[in-house]
């Protein structure tokens, strides 16, 4: 507790001292409006709640609430799974948790380092939980932090600073099991797929699998790791027979298992095969961006924002195989 206080003091000092808040205006829109509206939750199974993020890019309206976030409640304490795209979303999630339970928050698990999943972490520092992420998370986030903060400052039209970056206390290399009190969560780290630091979380007692961004539903996936790695991860995940509820990183939770992964898998196979043909034909990266898997367009939200980039990622990976 003592340490926690010292920490808070430092964060406060840092925020106070940064030019971002030097004007004295509260950075947080909730405070300006005088209300903190808790996130709307859906209960997936007993003690398992998630909030479906908006299927959009970050805007001033959604405050970065574009990814699925949620939590699992045990007898002893609560584990949060991802925290949203800004401290404001994190606070709204925190408030939603407090509407359901007064148990302490003992873990905050980040499924990977993307800003829409982790920039609400700051709202949980006060609870002094153990922040858990995959090995590789620290390095991946550190390398991109400045870009993320600058871009979000524009997209959210709000000052951002490095208090938004909360690094894990505990990193998972392969697997890690936590007990929330009669509620065991199995955390598993994956080889490079969506990113190089993906985690999935399985709640044994309800058969709920949190897939993080290994699963995109309706919203077009974004490859920031490895297309071949992602396809193998999907192949491996599909073999699981113990999954009753699946919670993707984007899009609605589903009990269609493993069918919930079908569209994503089809999309990646179309890219992989199209890019492989382009490379074999001596076609350039630019050509591939314009010609590969365009027919997938009708199946996905935000296709034009991510598809060409996915082709680039696949091309630069597959040209070395």
């Amino acid at each position: 507790m003592q340490l926690s206080k010292c920490m808070l003091g430092l964060v406060w000092l840092a925020v106070w001292a940064s030019p971002a808040s030097a004007g004295g205006a509260p950075a947080d829109l909730d405070l300006q409006a005088g209300v903190l509206r808790p996130l709307e939750l859906e209960q997936v199974a007993s003690g398992v709640f998630y909030h479906p993020g908006t299927q959009a890019e970050e805007t001033t309206t959604n405050q970065g609430d574009i990814a699925n976030v949620g939590f699992v409640v045990g007898d002893r304490c609560v584990a949060v799974v991802d925290t949203g795209g800004s401290p404001a979303v994190g606070r709204a999630l925190h408030a939603a948790i407090r509407e359901r339970t007064a148990l302490p928050i003992c873990y905050v698990i980040n499924t990977h380092m993307h800003p829409d999943h982790v920039f609400g972490n700051a709202a949980f520092v006060q609870d002094d939980p153990v922040f858990v992420a995959a090995d590789g998370f620290r390095q991946a986030l550190a390398a991109r932090a400045r870009t993320y903060l600058d871009r979000l400052a524009e997209d959210l039209d709000e000052p951002t600073d490095s208090s938004w970056i909360v690094m894990p206390d505990r990193v998972v290399e392969d697997s890690f099991t936590i007990d929330l009190g009669d509620r065991v969560l199995q955390i598993r780290a994956w080889p490079s797929a969506h990113t190089d630091n993906d985690l999935t979380i399985f709640d044994q007692s309800t058969g709920t699998l949190w897939l993080g961004d290994l699963a995109f539903v309706d919203r077009v996936p974004a490859i920031d790791g490895s297309i071949t790695g992602w396809l193998s991860a999907l192949g491996e995940l599909r073999k699981r027979e113990d999954v009753i509820h699946a919670i993707p990183g984007h899009g609605p939770a589903s009990s269609r298992w493993p069918g919930v992964l079908d569209n994503e898998q089809r999309y990646f196979i179309a890219i992989r095969d199209g890019v492989t043909r382009a490379i074999d034909d001596g076609r350039s990266l630019r050509w591939a961006e314009d010609h590969v898997a365009g027919a997938e367009r009708e199946h996905w939200l935000l296709f034009d924002d991510y598809h060409a980039r996915n082709v680039t990622a696949a091309y630069t990976e597959l040209e070395w195989q």
Partner: protein, 288 residues
């Protein structure tokens, strides 16, 4: 993996970093308007070309770059030599400038007798909205310039490689492929180099979590005894650098690529003139 450092200590470190970080971050965010880009260019122009006239290059070369960079870590660009095939004069040297990158002067290419022309494609990193420009020096000692405005975009992206570990593991591996030009029937030679090309600049205040700078800084390609090109570059080239160029068919001998990086590693690889180049791929690391 064991917890190496207590939760609070980590957070103290991060919190202290806020103090250091907030200033530079804000300054960085404001540096994206076009006027400022021109200011960057003016000082570079003075440093590299002093008062020498730089003419409009539209009849000498073109620069093709996407207006919207899909992945700021991998922006494909093509410089097309419009003097190709002319006897009167040719392009001898190209400078690639990306105004808003941490080191705007990104690459310099000098062509030799084994180059068919100065047409060149590569992939670069773009740090933010920026002008990208190419200055050409012709054999009659004149300078020409073309420029394009490029918007970096993409929700989750940053100008960072996706898998530096893997690139490091295979560092120095090279491949040579024959590829098609996007327009016309031309065939280009593509040199691919495995290298993480780490900028080391990604977030100064978290440097100890990020690899230090490690990037290819020179590439020389020769055919037989003749030079195709000599080049020097910064970390503006993407992870696993790729360069496409035109080699003269009527120059005999092996094609050799010599690659140097900022940690003084030297990688050399040769390909027989007529071999099926696509099938060839192995690494020869001669010094480290």
């Amino acid at each position: 993996m064991d917890r190496q450092i207590g939760p609070c200590r980590w957070r103290i470190v991060i919190a202290v970093l806020c103090l250091l970080l907030a200033g530079p971050t804000m300054a960085f965010a404001q540096s994206s308007d076009r006027d400022k880009n021109e200011i960057v260019w003016k000082s570079l122009r003075q440093a590299y070309f002093s008062d020498k006239a730089i003419l409009d290059g539209k009849d000498v070369l073109t620069l093709d770059a996407p207006y919207r960079a899909e992945d700021p870590a991998v922006v494909p660009i093509t410089i097309t030599d419009m003097l190709a095939g002319q006897d009167r004069r040719h392009i001898e040297k190209l400078w690639l400038v990306i105004d808003n990158n941490p080191e705007p002067m990104s690459a310099v290419f000098e062509f030799g007798p084994a180059a068919e022309n100065a047409t060149l494609s590569t992939r670069v990193r773009v740090n933010s909205y920026t002008y990208m420009r190419v200055i050409a020096q012709t054999s009659d000692d004149k300078l020409y310039m073309v420029k394009r405005y490029v918007k970096a975009s993409g929700g989750c992206s940053a100008p960072v490689g996706r898998d530096p570990e893997k690139a490091l593991e295979h560092m120095g591996e090279m491949r040579l492929r024959e590829v098609r030009a996007d327009q016309g029937d031309e065939r280009l030679t593509q040199l691919m180099i495995r290298h993480p090309n780490i900028t080391g600049l990604q977030m100064d205040q978290l440097t100890r979590l990020v690899y230090p700078a490690h990037f290819v800084d020179a590439i020389t390609v020769t055919k037989g005894n003749e030079r195709v090109f000599d080049s020097h570059m910064t970390f503006s080239l993407s992870e696993n650098p790729s360069v496409q160029f035109n080699v003269r068919d009527d120059v005999a001998g092996e094609l050799t690529a010599e690659v140097h990086d900022n940690k003084d590693n030297q990688f050399t690889r040769s390909w027989p003139a007529q071999a099926d180049q696509r099938a060839v791929s192995e690494q020869e690391k001669t010094a480290s």
